[in-house]
Amino acid sequence: MDNKIKLEFSSLPDNVALARLVIAALAAQMEFTLSDVEELKVAVSEAVSNCIIHGYDNRPDGLIVLEAWKSLDRIKVSVTDQGKGIEDIGKAMEPAFSTKPERMGLGFVFMQSFMDDLEVDSKLGQGTMVTLTKKIDSSQAQLRTSHN
């Protein structure tokens, strides 16, 4: 049975943990390995943190929308803000690139390496949507099922 959920919350730092929790709970209903779930949590944590830190420049009153679609073989997660947007997406996605000096520029690197697909959509002054997809490794899934 497919399952779609939508979570809206304000850009308070505490809510990053909430987003991770919800995604981990959804993923736990699926045949993901523990290490898959950890990777998914990191990717979602990066995407939501970016909305707060970059999209809303740490203002706590911005709206963040997390949507997740579960299907048999994958989970798709989108994270959207209505913040300042990204000027140059290509540049933003380069490893070690950051517009904030104290940050590492590893957010997009982690999203890319931990997920099977990453899409970034952004308009300056309007906001950013990041879409993350992670597939179930079917060889692993079979392994887990046969252990039940």
């Binding site: 730092p13 950890e38 940050r103 590492m104 590893l106 982690f110």
Partner: protein, 114 residues
């Protein structure tokens, strides 16, 4: 969730508990930076045993302290990272710039011998 600080001679030991994301990273900065400055700390041992999660905000705060200490000839020593956290630290090349130890005791011994 939280941070515990203590001193072993001149070495500052910070034990982190919880998920090292932007919230805890901020707390880390607020707790550790005044100590580094006031007490002229040279060696910072970070015990990650209680950390179940880390993301790039967590990595960033550790790397930031690393850079600060570098200016004064200081170092960071990582103790007891659990497997998922260790994996992220390794992926990001941390073991190349700071040593990892399986116990805080070993880390403190290494500091003394350094």
């Amino acid at each position: 969730m939280g941070l515990e600080k203590k001193y072993d001679r001149d070495t500052l030991v910070i034990k982190v508990t919880g998920e090292l994301d932007l919230v805890v990273a901020d707390e880390f900065r607020r707790v550790v930076d005044p100590e580094l400055e006031r007490r002229q700390v040279k060696n910072l041992v970070i015990n990650l045993n209680g950390v179940s999660f880390i993301d790039s905000s967590g990595l960033g705060v550790i790397l930031g302290r690393y850079k600060k200490l570098l200016q004064t000839g200081g170092k960071i020593w990582i103790a007891e990272p659990r497997p998922p956290v260790r994996k992220i630290l390794e992926l990001s090349g941390f073991p190349r710039i700071m040593p990892f130890f399986d116990s805080e005791k070993q880390a403190l011994e290494a500091v003394r011998e350094a």
